[in-house]
């Protein structure tokens, strides 16, 4: 390119400063001790990592992974038809649907979560409706269950599934679907043999974008799950905000991130192998 390259140097500096420095700092903090009143003391130690051997933390971790996987799967099932609808609509309708999908981002996340709490409470809208209709005489327990957390997470992260899927499906030429139809494919075969494999990059991107933040989410589990459903995100929040044990929180967060990365890499590898054999 003949474009001058000098404006790119600050860009690289910013990139490194912003995106690597906090990571390095957290790594450093995870190897020192907790100060007496929170904060840190400069004594090198493995202690924070040794404490992670406690199966308690791994139970929380596994429960969080399960919930994140469920969130991701539900988002795929709900998001794919939605994304397909968007991609194959007229530009006008596409624009409208994108706006609709993005509406939640215009309101405070907290406010939206409280709307769900209001819906799911013992005296909330769902239970009131059930009671009024005579379908149940004592309140169904909805709020402060893993189900409530699941609903909240799907609600919060569905757009992250829909948007990359939409972008991927929009790139699939409609003539490919017609060619498949012409070659004796039923509607289901067109979907599994043509649309799904070609939407794969968007699907993988969507899964990563939903799985990672829903695994680390802390506000939704805190508000909708209550104290009963401790998640990895709420645990880290607890260490930082309540216990004020920064070094342990940092260690927890790093090990958790490394594990997620590992899981994802293995999954992406397997995906690749799977798609290749398809």
């Amino acid at each position: 390119m003949s474009f001058p390259s000098w404006p790119l140097i600050p860009a690289l500096v910013v990139l490194i400063a912003f995106f690597l420095v906090p990571l390095l700092i957290m790594t450093g903090i995870s190897f020192v001790s907790r100060g007496p009143y929170g904060g840190i003391e400069w004594i090198l130690t493995w202690e924070n990592y040794v404490r992670l051997a406690d199966p308690l933390y791994w139970h929380i971790f596994i429960r969080s992974v399960g919930l994140a996987v469920a969130t991701t799967l539900i988002c795929v099932v709900l998001g794919f038809p939605l994304a397909y609808l968007m991609a194959r609509s007229s530009p006008r309708v596409q624009y409208l649907l994108i706006c609709l999908v993005l509406i939640p981002f215009w309101t405070n996340f907290l406010v939206r979560t409280y709307a769900w709490m209001f819906l799911l409470r013992a005296d909330g809208l769902v239970n009131t409706t059930l009671r009024t209709l005579g379908l149940s005489d004592h309140p169904v327990e909805l709020l402060y269950t893993p189900w409530a957390v699941l609903i909240g997470l799907v609600y919060g992260y569905l757009p992250f599934m829909v948007l990359p899927l939409y972008a991927a499906i929009e790139r699939i030429a409609p003539s490919l679907e017609e060619a498949a139809r012409d070659l004796y494919a039923t509607g289901w075969a067109v979907f599994t043999q043509v649309v799904l494999p070609l939407a794969k990059p968007g699907l993988v991107a969507g899964c990563v974008l939903v799985f990672v933040p829903s695994l680390g989410a802390f506000i939704t589990p805190h508000l909708l799950g209550g104290g009963q459903t401790m998640m990895i995100g709420t645990l880290i929040q607890h260490e930082f905000l309540v216990v004020r044990d920064w070094p342990f929180g940092a260690a927890l967060s790093l090990v958790f991130m490394a594990t997620v990365l590992l899981i994802l890499l293995l999954w992406l590898k397997r995906q690749e192998a799977m798609w290749r054999t398809l």
């Binding site: 030429a173 003539s175 490919l176 017609e178 060619a179 498949a180 139809r181 012409d182 070659l183 004796y184 494919a185 039923t186 075969a189 043999q193 043509v194 494999p197 070609l198 794969k200 798609w275």
Partner: protein
Amino acid sequence: MESELVGSVRLDRVVKWHGPHCVLDAVSLEVKQGEFFSILGPSGSGKTTLLRIIAGFDRPNAGRVLIQEQPLDDLPPHQRPVNMVFQHYALFPHLSVWKNVAFGLERRRIARAEVIRRVTEALHMVRLETKGNRFPHELSGGEQQRVALARALVNRPQVLLLDEPLGALDQQLRQAMQGELKRIQEQVGITFICVTHHQEEALSMSDRVAVIDQGRVLQIGSPHELYESPASMAVAQFIGLSNCLHGEVVCTNGTLCTFQVPELGTFLVPKPHGRLPQGTATFMLRPERIRLLREPSSSHGENMLAATVQTVRYSGGELQYQIALSPHIVWTARLPIESKWYEPFHPGERLTVSWDTHEGLILAS
């Protein structure tokens, strides 16, 4: 055989509207068994819509499509005995050449051994035996075109539909593929219906051609008929180059009439077929029927007009002249260069245009 006289594909007054716009206006045509039939028209003439209606991707607003006299009506695309070669091939980018070709057979749950046999045969036919493991993006344009062809033919449809099959190829490859396509069609004996806007392609490959414009069929005939006896000026101008003059035709008895152009005087023309367009008519002459002479030399059965060379276009084996008969009338003449010693005319040179009286044609204005 009797069955060959039955139309393989018949369109019966097919009408298609896109909103307020009439794309196809009661189109009827009949394609014979085993024929290479082309539908030739400019972009927007409705020719692709016609193909999509036969394939089942679009529904006509009125009229019917019949294959072997069976109406297709509401059959979805995957249940019609036709296959299509798409304009930009529409090869599945995530599947190998082999998997692309096998796609249709696998969807119909054909036995594995049969799939292998037929895909091998199809790839052999398009001369891509060695490229089965490649992916579409690894192939050249011509190879992609042949994969698209194999993918459709492997299903042994009764009719093969081709949508601008050579449109994405460049000149040299396009000419080679014209021969290839014709060879394959003769080999498999399937009815081909080919949509194109490229007249040379239609003429060189087809048994018969339908010229359509603005949703109406202008003429159906063999390439030779269309070129030598176009039904109207529109057809003449769409098929090949044509020179024309507007004037008055006066016929007496005999095989020749007199054509009068105010600026140029009179000359003889053959008597038009059918009803005589008395009064104003159009005279048409093909550019390769023109002889250019340095000196006027009278010869029996020839017309002669004085003219001036405007431009000369050289294209290897041929020269194309623009010659002015009057300031407002410019004709094109194509002359093959039959010898390397040939001395071309120069722009500005005065010469005599001559042609056999029987080569002209009178069309209604």
